[in-house]
């Protein structure tokens, strides 16, 4: 799995690619001229790969400041006749939605594919939004690949479909497609983006309510295409007793479940490659032959509801037919129906129940059994990395808030620093919603003084998030005279999604050097006073935060220190505990470094009764050395 496979110009060759790489490959084969994205898991690697290949393939790629801007840029390319791809996670779709709902009404020209990655189970997300509902709201065609091969195939097909319909097409991928690796048979690579972009004087792309009818016509056209579209497929006996309707990885689970249960002659699988609009005739044809239908999909019962409505409209044709899935509670992961991911076992259980065949699924207790075999396997909490500047920032904030003594309110949002709501951030963070939302909430709280609200308010935001979504709230705060302290936890990168560049870094996705736009330039231009401090200087940071908490109005503190995972590549001092100076449990700190401060590199040497630094984990920040009351931790420059 690598970029080498994505760039390989050998049509017909089968290479191992992740779903994300396969989408990038599909975009290359489609001859895109423009690619844009704001990094978000699980699809952050799509643009990462495209940006690396943009130079040699002659197209443009960028990390945009947010998904709305990314989509508008991609739409522009489409209007000018260049195929464009725009990639975002489900949360990003919410940001871009206003433009997206308009684009499907105004129409587009060259193929515009919007890749939206959903994260069932929230492996790296705060929510598990099912973006298909929003795609439907936006009157979009929604395609759902099941594996990397389909991710490539459907990406290529989506561009054609978009041009046929003159509207954006949405490709919905889930984590198990994005991050899974699979064999992908490559197609041909075009020489480069076709034609010179041009925006004809007579062309119009207007959003206007009168064009609503046009949207519906486009969907009707798509539905007709879907009836015979190869990605909408049926697998199984001609007259199945049970029909499974599925899409995405659910198809793979269903296929395996049928095989495991030996139900190949009783169960048919209808795989929807196009989840919206539904190929109604195709569906009805198979629904008529079955007496039971089981829906297998993630996360919400999207097909179940839409096909359920289709069934209701055609009751006489399909009767008798019973519907099973999430609402009947047959398809459920460990957390229950409609919550989190599903797996093969969940489908096996549902099918076995429907078919009336006994089946013991593999005991889900294997985790517990493994634990019994490996005694003392410690739990591993979510937490900041060793040396993370956020840990120092949160300790300084905790200290300053306690010293201030007025029960400060701490508001956050999405990023590495969301862990501020856990032990790793000393449970400081009190709200988490969307990108930049802590700033808007702070803006609101900061105006409640007229009702006697007198708690200090702190909003936390990451550097990348600052550019993404904090600026309008900051302008509103200044305009409407709010009062709060905005702390920008600036680790000089978009750390959480894999260190993508942002406007403050002075480099673009293509690796070009550009003038950096600092947080203090932006805030300063808004007339908001800005202080910059290094969070590794914990004592100094405490003083600065304490002082700023006592000031009025809107003020910004930038706590700037490069992400430890980045800086440790350049410089990594050796940090160790001097066992002569550490007094172990005789110290009043009660194992501060390993137990309270919580850096994963700080451990307790039970045999010696002393603190210890796990040098394999340590990133050399040395903050623990500044906090140890005995001065027992030594920081030594290496090399």
């Amino acid at each position: 799995m690598s970029i080498l496979g994505v760039r390989l110009d050998e049509p017909g060759r089968s290479v191992l690619l992740t779903g994300n790489e396969a989408v990038a490959r599909g975009a290359l084969e489609a001859g895109i001229g423009y690619a844009s994205s704001y990094p978000g898991s699980p699809s952050a690697e799509v643009l990462g790969v495209l940006a690396e290949l943009a130079g040699e393939r002659g197209f443009y790629a960028e990390w945009s400041v947010n998904e709305k801007v990314a989509l508008e840029g991609a739409a522009a390319a489409s209007f000018a006749g260049l195929r464009a791809i725009c990639v975002m996670k489900a949360d990003g779709l919410n940001v871009a939605l206003d433009t997206l709902t308009a684009l499907s009404e105004s129409g587009t020209k060259a193929g515009l594919v919007v890749v939206v990655s959903d994260d069932p189970g929230g492996h790296s997300s705060v929510k598990e939004e099912d973006s298909r509902y929003l795609g439907k709201v936006a009157h979009l065609v929604i395609l759902e690949p099941a594996d990397p091969q389909e991710a490539r195939d459907m990406t290529v097909a989506a561009f054609g479909l978009s041009e046929q319909l003159r509207a954006p097409v949405m490709l919905r991928c889930v984590t198990r497609v994005c991050h899974a690796g699979g064999n992908v048979v490559l197609g041909a690579l075009p020489p480069g983006p076709a034609g010179r972009p041009h925006f004809g004087r007579q062309e119009r792309y207007i959003t206007f309510v009168a064009f609503h009818g046009l949207q519906e016509q486009r969907l009707a056209q798509a539905r007709a295409i879907g009836e015979n579209w190869p990605f909408n497929a049926y697998l199984g006996p001609p007259e199945p007793e049970i029909l499974v309707i599925t899409a995405g990885p659910g198809f793979l689970y269903a296929r395996e479940a049928v095989e495991v249960l030996g139900l190949g002659d009783r169960v048919g699988i209808l795989k929807l490659g196009m989840s919206w609009p539904l190929p109604e005739k195709f569906l009805l044809r198979h629904l008529k032959s079955a007496s039971k239908v089981l829906f297998v999909e993630e996360v919400e019962p999207f097909h179940e509801e839409n096909v359920g409505y289709l069934v209701a409209c055609h009751l006489e044709e399909v009767h008798p037919l019973a519907i099973y899935g999430k609402k009947s509670r047959h398809v459920a992961g460990p957390q229950g129906p409609g919550l989190g991911e599903i797996d093969v076992d969940a489908v096996i259980r549902a099918l076995a129940a429907l078919a009336g065949v006994p089946h013991e699924t593999r005991s889900s207790d294997y985790g517990r059994e493994a634990r019994q075999l490996v005694k003392k396997m410690p739990d591993r909490e979510l937490g900041f990395c060793a040396g993370c500047p956020h840990r120092a920032s949160f300790w300084a904030l905790k200290t300053a808030i306690a010293l201030d003594g007025r029960e400060a309110v701490v508001l956050g949002d999405i990023g590495c620093y969301t862990l501020g709501l856990t032990r790793s951030g000393y449970f400081l963070m009190q709200t988490v919603h969307a990108m930049g939302s802590g700033v808007g909430i702070a803006d609101g709280l900061g105006k409640l003084g007229r009702f006697g609200f007198d708690q200090p308010v702190i909003a936390l935001v990451g550097d990348s998030t600052f550019y993404h979504a904090a600026v309008p709230a900051l302008i509103n705060a200044r305009y409407n005279r709010s009062r709060f302290l905005l702390v920008v936890l600036d680790n000089e990168t978009t750390a959480m999604t894999g260190h993508q560049p942002h406007p403050g870094m002075g480099v673009t996705a293509l690796g070009e050097k550009v003038p950096a736009l600092s947080v203090e330039e932006v805030a300063g231009a808004l007339g908001v006073p800005v202080t910059v401090h290094d969070p590794y200087d914990v004592r100094g940071t405490v003083e600065v935060v304490y002082r700023l908490l006592r000031q009025d109005g809107v003020r910004v503190l930038v706590l700037r220190r490069t992400c430890a995972l980045v800086s440790a590549r350049e410089r990594k001092p050796r940090v160790y505990v001097d066992p002569e100076r550490c007094v172990g449990d005789a110290c009043g700190c009660h194992r501060f470094c390993s137990r309270v401060f919580g850096c994963p590199a700080s451990i307790w040497d039970a045999a010696r009764g002393r603190a210890k630094v796990d040098e394999a984990v340590c990133n050399g920040c040395g903050v623990c050395a500044t906090l140890c009351p005995q001065g027992a931790i030594v920081v030594e420059e290496v090399g």
């Binding site: 905790k398 200290t399 306690a402 010293l403 201030d404 003594g405 000393y426 405490v542 304490y546 100076r581 007094v583 005789a586 110290c587 009043g588 700190c589 009660h590 501060f592 309270v596 401060f597 906090l627 140890c628 009351p629 005995q630 001065g631």
Partner: protein, 365 residues
């Protein structure tokens, strides 16, 4: 009497009884200070702690302290152990001028640092009219830079930990009576090696006379009064605050300042640093001299050496002034006993019936 951080928070910090000595700071990362207010930022979870043991405001057996510091019970229930009570002053005019009164404290510290008897001195620095801060002086010049009275509770014993960390030993400590008591409690505590080393490295303790310290809000009050003028010196007469500025002398009735007195100081039982080796204060009589109470053998030896070297001169304490000092101290002690009774909290003072009777002239109610 043992206790932990929870007890410290409940009995000392929350009721405003912290004297701000600074000794608990830096024993752990959980006690921090801002504007002379000590705050516990995180519950460490220990049942017992050095913070509780060394705090001058946790239960303290007064007579037991006498025995551990001086090896004997006190004869004088008001002024504590004393070998001599004198008027004293620095002979060097520049030291005398730098000091608040006779410059005795500065002279003794500079002398000891200069002779190498101590390698560091735990002091309090800060310009007149500004919030003071802990200082660790390593030479006479640095010590002299700290001359002059400070009127709020700088947590200057932090510098004792700093000295221990830097391996600077032995050190001299100059402190308020509460700080003297804290150092003595540290010195006699047993069991926790590292922190006690700091206590054992204290060669001697010079205590100050102190009837109260002010909240740092006093400095804002001062700035408001003085405006743009530069504050050269702050002093108190029995009934006035006196502020010498580059634009002249400002005077305010002392009543206007009383509101700034640190609540903990209203329950102070020791205005004359009873557990110090030597205690130094004003004379309330002659600004060119200090009152010097020589309490311990160590203090006596230090004074002898300083006199032999000619850096300190002394004269007898005027006999007619002694009752005034005694009355002032006794009244402070009695006010404290009343204040504690009124607050209804269990007192940090553990006094025997005999001592209490000797002081009040009556049995405990």
């Amino acid at each position: 009497m043992s206790g932990g951080p929870d007890d410290l928070a409940r009995k000392v910090l929350q009721p405003g009884q912290c004297a701000g000595c600074g000794l608990c700071l830096d024993l752990c990362p959980y006690l921090q200070v801002v504007e002379e207010k000590v705050v516990m930022i995180h519950p460490c979870g220990l049942k017992e702690g050095d913070c509780y043991r060394v705090c001058p405001r946790t239960p303290t057996d007064w007579e037991d302290m006498d025995r551990s510091v001086f090896g004997a019970a006190r004869a004088d229930h008001v002024l504590g152990h004393h070998r001599e009570i004198l008027f004293a002053r620095a002979t060097a005019p520049e030291i005398a001028a730098a000091g608040q009164y006779g410059g005795v404290v500065s002279a003794l510290i500079a002398f000891a640092l200069g002779r190498g008897e101590v390698r560091g001195a735990v002091l309090t620095a800060g310009a007149p009219g500004e919030m003071p801060r802990p200082a660790l002086a390593e030479n006479p010049e640095e010590a002299l830079a700290c001359a002059g009275s400070k009127y709020s509770a700088a947590p200057s014993l932090r510098a004792l930990h700093e000295a221990a960390r830097r391996g600077l030993e032995p050190v001299a400590v100059v402190g308020r009576p509460c700080q003297v008591l804290a150092v003595r409690k540290l010195q006699r505590a047993r069991g926790l090696e590292a922190h006690h080393l700091a206590g054992r490295k204290v060669a001697w303790v010079t205590g100050l006379f102190c009837f109260w310290a002010l909240d740092p809000a006093f400095y804002a009050f001062l700035r408001a009064k003085t405006g743009d003028a530069r504050i050269l010196r702050v002093d108190f007469s029995p009934d006035s605050l006196l502020v010498h500025t580059d634009r002249g002398l400002l005077s305010e009735p002392v009543d206007k300042v009383r509101g700034f007195v640190r609540p903990a100081c209203r329950e102070c039982f020791d205005p004359t640093s009873e557990f110090a080796d030597v205690a130094v204060g004003s004379t309330e009589y002659d600004e060119a001299w200090n009152t010097l109470v020589v309490r311990s053998e160590r203090g006596e030896a230090l004074l002898r050496a300083a006199r032999e070297a000619g850096v300190i001169e002394v004269k007898p304490y005027p006999p007619e002034r002694l009752p005034l000092l005694r009355t002032a101290v006794l009244n402070k002690k009695l006010r404290t006993l009343e204040a504690q009774a009124a607050r209804g909290e269990s007192s940090h003072l553990q006094l025997s019936e005999g001592y209490r009777r000797a002081l009040t002239g009556r049995d405990q109610p």
